[in-house]
Amino acid sequence: MSDLIVGNRSIALDKDGFLVDLQDWSHEVAQALAAREAIALTPDHWEVLELLRQFYDEYQLSPATRPLIKYTALKLGPDKGNSPHLNRLFNGTPAKLAAKLAGLPKPTNCI
């Protein structure tokens, strides 16, 4: 357990750095989470984060890598929905890291 300080708010994180309360998410929180991972969020990142939140809204779970790629390809096209693109954006662990930055629970079917 640790806390993330965003502005004057203190936001609870679990031991892996995921939000404890999914309602705490905001763009500022995403930026602060990304900073902890040494990532500066670009429009390419944001569209994946928005997509993940949409995935969670639809299926009520966080995708593992394969469904993340499939869903991204379906919604944004094959140029974005492939592992090199997603790996580049999210330090080689897109399912885990993108879920974290999007404020979703840790994917359960992920190694």
Binding site: F55, Q60, L61, A64, P67
Partner: protein
């Protein structure tokens, strides 16, 4: 080629952990690219009923989770016609795009897979 596995889910959505466990096997196997099928049998077909409101029972939305199966690569989805009919469910109004099979087709289905587990 990995062995194919048919998961038969035959418990109602919140009757203990069975329905959730069957789904977890399917999602985990799908994430690893295993050739999987999932069959809803007996009370398992209640998992597919439309308009469920699990939050009223402080339960997670299993029907929403089930819809992720094709995204996880599990596209062979089946339901037992007899079980649906017995329970007054209409195969065309289900939450998931399943193939509704009669008993003879179900026997052929079970024969086709390398492994079968019933939860």
């Amino acid at each position: 080629m990995a062995s194919s596995l048919l998961i038969i889910s035959r418990q109602a959505p919140w009757n203990g952990p069975s329905a959730r466990e069957a789904l977890d096997i399917a999602l985990a196997g799908g994430a690893f690219d295993l050739p999987l099928g999932m069959l809803f049998l007996d009370d398992g077909v209640f998992q597919l009923a439309s308009g469920q409101q699990p939050a009223l029972l402080q339960q997670k939305n299993l029907a929403a989770n089930l819809q992720a199966l094709p995204m996880f690569g599990v596209e062979e989805l089946f339901a037992c016609a007899h079980s649906l009919q017995q329970r007054g469910l209409d195969g065309s109004t289900l939450e998931l795009p399943v193939q509704v099979l009669d008993d003879a087709a179900l026997r052929a289905l079970i024969a086709r897979f390398d492994q079968v587990v019933t939860l």
